[in-house]
């Protein structure tokens, strides 16, 4: 320094000024660095919980592709504009189809990865439990596909679910049967529900038991079979003996394939078969079963030939071109794709990285345009419990190996064949 000062006081003052100067300088450095960081933080981290290994790996892979496609589109179109073009980054976590793992993965995504929102987890039991973790840490959780009623019946503030409630799936199935009876004059009196003894199967069965009597239908067979059964013949023989008008089925893919083959072998001939999505909407089902699936009805949340929005065709074609297997969307994938757009809208609306603000955006959202409109109802919004308002299911019929929408008539492209031809008359 320059030399000594004559006065101690001046010296001390100098010292003090130096310290203040250094403090101010540090403060400004940190401030600008922080500002720089905010600009550098060009991505919004979102956790995705899906089964990527184990028995449901096929399904998980399918959903992953749909999410990736949506995010690719969003990021290429400029990302989240209200966050200076920040890109969405999906962080996948394999739940292995296990609720315990789902819960700990949710925690890891929130605490270690610092995600601002979670999407998942396909299986109801996994979504049910992992949403509780998100609620605890106050991170919004969007559920595209799970149907367990209780997911949005707990007074949670951070759970938002797109899929229709499981008990109402059953109601839609009953309504479809009743409508078909009215429309064609060939109504059904007895129905049977044959389902895999898992949470989804049991949820559907419970719903059928509740809604069938309201439309005057009697349940002739209520059969929950153990998942991973090696032989479906006993169940199918029971089905045959019960002489049912309609058989409602709920299975995962492997059982669905075995069931249909055995049903064809044994020539079980009701008025119609009605699937409850799951295995029956899995692309490998139609691939493996081929012509046997013809005339099979399936309850689903979505299909490729819906008429309510041009996005359905448009985006499906683009997706097909983009993905390596040349796959169409199926119900689950379409909802994941659309949900990613719902997430996008919420992020735009929130204009913040704060999970609480993002949650508020979800609660207040009302979407009436954009690719999210693939979903067959409008507007897309959530009620106080986080359940999507206006959610409804559709029914498709397999015709020429394609899933053609047949109900509700206003958004469907094809007239259903009811009753379905007997096995002996086919081929």
């Amino acid at each position: 320094m320059r030399g000594e000062f004559p006065s101690k006081i001046l010296f001390l003052r100098r010292r003090k000024m130096k310290t203040i100067g250094i403090i101010l300088l540090t403060f400004f450095c940190v401030f600008y660095y922080g500002l720089g960081l905010t600009y550098a933080q060009q991505e919004v981290k979102v956790g995705v919980l899906i089964p990527l290994s184990g028995g449901l790996a096929v399904i998980g892979e399918n959903l992953q592709m749909a999410h990736d496609f949506a995010v690719k589109e969003i990021n290429e179109a400029g990302g989240i504009k209200s966050l200076n073009g920040a890109k969405i980054k999906l962080i996948y976590a394999d739940t292995r189809g296990d609720s315990k793992i789902g819960m700990s993965e949710a925690e890891r995504l929130i605490l270690r990865e610092g995600v601002v929102a979670i999407v998942g987890a396909f299986q109801s039991s996994v979504s049910y439990t992992s949403t509780e973790v998100a609620e605890k840490y106050q991170v919004p959780y969007l559920v595209p596909n799970s149907l367990m009623d209780a997911i949005t019946e707990r007074g949670f503030k951070y759970t938002f679910r797109v899929e229709r409630k499981g008990s109402l799936w059953a109601k839609d199935q009953i309504d479809f049967i009743a409508d078909m009876g009215k429309a064609t004059g060939k109504s059904a009196k007895t129905i049977g529900v044959v389902y895999e003894n898992t949470d989804m199967g049991q949820a559907i069965a419970k719903g059928i038991r509740k809604w069938a009597p309201e439309k005057g239908l009697t349940i002739g067979l209520d059969e929950g079979y153990p998942p991973k059964t090696s032989d479906m013949t006993p169940v199918v023989l029971k089905m045959k003996r019960a002489n049912l008008d309609i058989v409602i089925l709920n299975s995962y893919t492997s059982d669905a394939i075995l069931l249909i083959r055995t049903i064809a072998d044994q020539r079980v001939n009701p008025v119609a078969f009605l699937g409850s999505s799951s295995g029956y909407s899995d692309p490998s089902f139609i691939k493996e079963v081929g012509k046997l699936a013809e005339y099979f009805f399936d309850l689903t949340e979505w299909t490729t030939d819906l008429k309510h929005s041009p996005f359905v065709q448009q985006k499906n074609v683009a997706y097909k071109k983009w993905n390596k297997d040349n796959r169409d969307f199926n119900g689950g994938a379409a909802f994941c794709y659309a949900s990613t757009y719902i997430l996008y809208e919420a992020l735009e609306k929130a204009a913040s990285y704060d999970p609480k603000k993002i949650r508020d955006a979800f609660a207040a959202i009302k979407i009436t345009k954009g690719p999210a409109m693939m979903i067959p109802w409008t507007p897309i919004e959530f009620d106080a419990e986080g359940q999507a308002k206006g959610a409804r299911m559709l029914v498709v019929q397999y015709r020429d190996g394609q899933r053609k929408s047949v109900w509700p008539a206003e958004i469907s492209s094809t007239k259903p064949v009811w009753p379905v031809p007997k096995w002996e008359e086919r081929k």
Binding site: S53, A57, D94, S99, S104, L111, E132, N197
Partner: protein
């Protein structure tokens, strides 16, 4: 001997101080899981290690404990700590029913019969939905509602450290019990039964009685673990009864060294983090690889160290110690 005691005391001290040093809830969660499985494996160790009866049915007791305390809690507001004891007693009684037929068998037949019991329980839990006023929910499982805050009455804590200390206390308890049994006369009988049951019988040891007693103790503590599990993870489902979980538990005890005191703890210390880590880093992209690794560990241990890690380590440790002294 006192060297062992000092080591043990130091280990306990380190364990007690752990949550004060490591505050990251994710690490605490992992530590709690390690301790929980160490506890479970230690409870198996009583019947599997000390008595030499390699039961594949331990998950049944875990499941019974979890379901009993949860149902008592949800429907009749019984505090889970009390429910834990009740669950333990019920599991012990159930173990008599399981042990009676199974202990008549030896070797692979015994193993298969215990396995069959896990399947029976799992199927019953999956299919049964309503039993009187109680809704077991079948395959969907039961979710315990999340209550904010820390409460011993509700056995639910927002701070993971509470869970940590509880499971640590439980682990220390069962280690003391293991040690007490091993050093007692009863432990001698069990060891005789383990090494050669026929010879033991021929000198007048009532093998069946002692085996069932050992199983009852294993069952009691296994059920306690079930209650802890339920209150920690806040979700129980019929899969808890599955044979896969049984195998996981006994693998931990085997890898560490069945019959030894600290074997299960060491086994859990090694295996639980491996399964967590492989899942975290390999789960997403190369799904199934973690199971290949898990299987590989199984094969390697069985081919090269079926006695577990402890016996060869103990030998080396003693060698070291002897050389110094």
């Amino acid at each position: 001997m006192s060297w062992n005691r000092t080591l043990f005391a130091l280990a306990v001290l380190a364990a007690v101080l752990f949550p004060l040093v490591v505050r990251d809830p994710y690490f605490l969660h992992a530590a709690i899981t390690v301790l929980l499985f160490a506890f479970l494996a230690s409870s198996w160790n009583i019947i599997g290690g000390l008595a030499g009866q390699h039961s594949f049915g331990h998950s049944v007791f875990l499941g019974i404990g979890a379901y009993v305390s949860t149902i008592l809690f949800i429907y009749w507001n019984v505090p889970p700590f009390l429910g834990m004891i009740i669950g333990g007693i019920i599991a012990a009684i159930a173990s008599i029913g399981i042990g009676y037929p199974c202990f008549k068998l030896r070797g692979p037949y015994f193993a298969l019969s215990t396995l069959a019991f896990t399947e029976i329980f799992r199927i019953i839990a999956t299919t049964t939905e309503q039993v009187g006023p109680v809704d077991l929910k079948g395959a969907a499982g039961i979710l315990i509602s999340f209550r904010p805050g820390n409460s011993f009455v509700n056995f639910q804590f927002a701070e993971k450290a509470y869970y940590y200390y509880i499971i640590l206390a439980m682990l220390i308890l069962i280690l003391f019990i293991h040690n007490w049994i091993e050093k007692s006369r009863w432990g001698l009988y069990l060891a005789a039964i383990r090494d050669n049951e026929d010879a033991a019988r021929s000198i007048g040891i009532n093998a069946r009685r002692f085996k069932i007693l050992a199983l009852m103790i294993s069952a009691f503590f296994g059920a306690m673990a079930g209650t802890f599990y339920a209150q920690f993870f806040l979700y129980i489902e019929p899969i808890l009864f599955s044979s896969a979980l049984s195998i996981e538990i006994l693998l931990i005890a085997i890898v560490g060294g069945a019959g030894t005191l600290m074997g299960p703890f060491l086994g859990s210390l090694i295996l639980t983090p491996i399964s967590e880590l492989t899942r975290t880093y390999l789960g997403g992209t190369y799904a199934g690889v973690q199971l290949i690794i898990y299987g590989g560990i199984l094969v390697a241990v069985m081919m090269f160290a079926p006695q577990g890690i402890i016996p060869p380590l103990a030998k080396r440790y003693r060698m070291l110690f002897e050389r110094r002294a």
